[in-house]
């Protein structure tokens, strides 16, 4: 799941080398934290959060396949 988020983020941003992803596994829920360059935050969030929502949908579907739940958090 970490790789999936990292891939999506790297494809979207201008500074892919500054993309950092951390996976915190809980009992039921996995939290994926995404950190990007300051100038790229808008790109991973999108207009009215559209891009962030799309990434969350894809992440949720992937987690569901593994019988888990996943949350995507974008860190500032």
């Amino acid at each position: 799941m970490k790789e999936l988020v990292a891939y999506m983020a790297r494809e979207l941003v201008d500074f892919p080398e500054q993309v950092e992803v951390r996976e915190i596994e809980g009992e039921k829920t996995t939290v994926v934290e995404l950190k990007v360059a300051k100038d790229d935050i808008g790109k991973v969030i999108g207009r009215q959060g559209k891009t962030a929502r799309a990434m969350r949908s894809i992440l949720s579907a992937t987690a569901m396949k593994q019988g888990k739940r996943a949350m995507l958090e974008i860190l500032e």
Partner: protein, 203 residues
């Protein structure tokens, strides 16, 4: 490649002298290829795209995403005047569609965004479908829109269609565009909006 040829030669030749020569040759070749490598890398970023960013292939992005999601799939591809249409089939179709087509919309949007960057009117739009879900859904929406419209025409009371995505709302608006006594209007905020079918007042 250079290493492969070098070692092959070594096996064939018995004398120690010659084998050391071949090793030298092999080393020479490795040096050459190492020198050639940075050039090959440098060609990549500047693909002559105006914004400076190279254009990415939607085919590759779709495949990479599906691989990372861990699903098996088969993709059919069709290019038309309005864009590139992909249809995915496989074991995980329901998962890829998601609730109300959410996952499918997300994949379609994200691939479009990555390929076209921030440009408003790309020359080739990306259309995604899974197991002909969109086609079946369109037929259902057209059927529902006509049914509710005739109910509004009969009773004069407005009918509400539960929240739908912009593309699905467009189907409703287009279906009832020429309806003699029913008008359609999207209501609400955000991505998913309701559609209200009401009796035309100005007749």
């Amino acid at each position: 490649m250079a290493w492969f040829f070098g070692s092959k030669n070594k096996d064939e030749v018995n004398s120690g002298e010659e084998s050391s020569q071949t090793i030298e040759k092999a080393e020479e070749k490795t040096d050459d290829s190492a020198a050639a490598f940075p050039c090959a890398l440098e060609e990549k970023p500047g693909s002559g795209f105006p914004s400076g960013k190279p254009q990415k292939s939607p085919d590759d992005i779709l495949k990479n995403l599906l691989d990372l999601m861990g699903v098996e799939y088969a993709i059919s591809r069709e290019e038309t005047d309005d864009g590139i249409h992909f249809n995915i089939s496989g074991e995980y179709e329901a998962l890829l569609i998601g609730k109300m087509g959410q996952t499918l919309d997300a994949l379609e949007y994200l691939i479009g965004k990555i390929c076209h960057g921030g440009r408003e009117a790309p020359e080739k739009r990306i259309f995604l479908d899974v197991g002909n879900y969109r086609k079946k859904r369109e037929e259902k929406i057209v059927f529902l829109a006509r049914k509710l419209a005739s109910r509004v025409a009969d009773h004069g009371r407005p009918e509400i269609i539960k929240p739908m995505s912009p593309m699905e709302r467009k189907i409703v608006h287009m279906t009832l565009r020429d309806h003699p006594c029913v008008e359609t209007k999207s209501e609400g905020e955000g991505f998913y909006k309701e559609i209200v079918l009401s009796y035309k007042k100005s007749l």
